[in-house]
């Protein structure tokens, strides 16, 4: 993937697009089919969260290339009311609106890293990352291309 990919979330159909794009990008970064599905599922949950709680927002997908590992970072931003009780929202069945509040805790379990920052009345930012270990061949190739 060349540069960040931004997906605007403002309607029902954007969730379908976000799922498909996330899956394709994860596969393109060398993630397994299973991991690509886990990532796409987590993105679907936070995209729906944006839609239900804030109305609109955006999701940015970013590749992080480390020497030992390859990451896909997902940043979801909205300008909604924020989450009043974050601890409860991250618990299964915690948040009531628009569902049974299984989305956020589910997304957290689907990814390797998960972080929510929210300021009341200025929106919520969810950052989550999935990692995969790069094979020795891949590392060698990356080093070679860096050194010309």
């Amino acid at each position: 993937m060349a540069g960040d990919v931004r997906i605007a979330i403002a309607a029902d159909a954007d969730l379908v697009r976000a799922r498909a794009e996330a899956r394709a990008i994860a596969l393109g970064l060398g993630f397994s089919k299973t991991d690509a599905t886990l990532i796409a599922t987590a993105i679907s949950e936070i995209a729906r969260n944006i839609l239900v709680h804030a109305g609109d927002g955006e999701i940015v997908l970013e590749a992080i290339a480390g020497d030992e590992r390859q990451g896909l970072r997902v940043v979801a931003r909205d300008g909604g009311p924020g989450i009043r009780d974050l601890e409860t929202a991250l618990r299964d069945g915690g948040s009531g609106r628009g569902g049974l509040g299984l989305g956020l805790p589910g997304a957290r379990r689907l990814m390797d890293e998960f972080d929510v920052v929210c300021e009341l009345d200025s929106g919520t930012v969810v950052t989550m990352t999935k990692w995969r270990i790069r094979s020795s061949l891949e590392r060698l190739q990356a080093r070679r291309s860096r050194h010309g």
């Binding site: 498909a20 089919k33 599905t37 886990l38 589910g106």
Partner: protein
């Protein structure tokens, strides 16, 4: 159309052809609840083979379909959940117990046959 619904004997087969929007998922649930009556179906098979991602909303909607149709007198079996989708769904704290699932259409038919045999026996 994203979902093809056809009738086969006593059963309705709903084949989801592509990823669905939330609205389409809810429409499918409502449509199936109606059709159980209009076509006097006793069983429903929902084929989700084409769905690459099933998140908690869709899983809950599938569960709602099964409960709704059972209140209308029909049993529901979900077929074709992909292995990766099953792995993803296991990360959610979802109660999918009311949902019957089978590997493919053929197995789905067999599960419905068995479920309805049980009903017939209980009734007689």
């Amino acid at each position: 159309m994203s979902v093809a619904i056809l009738r086969q004997g006593d059963y309705l087969i709903a084949s989801i052809q592509s990823d669905l929007t939330d609205r389409e998922v809810v429409e499918l649930r409502d449509d199936l609840a109606q059709r159980v009556g209009s076509s006097r179906a006793r069983g429903i098979i929902v084929d989700v083979t084409a769905m690459d991602v099933i998140d908690s909303f869709v899983a809950r909607a599938l569960r709602a379909m099964a409960i709704t149709s059972s209140l209308r007198g029909a049993r529901t079996v979900i077929v074709g959940i992909q292995p990766d989708v099953a792995i993803a769904l296991a990360h959610f704290n979802l109660d999918l117990a009311p949902l019957h699932a089978a590997l493919d259409l053929e197995e789905g038919h067999a599960v419905l046959d068995r479920l309805l045999q049980g009903v017939a026996k209980d009734g007689g």
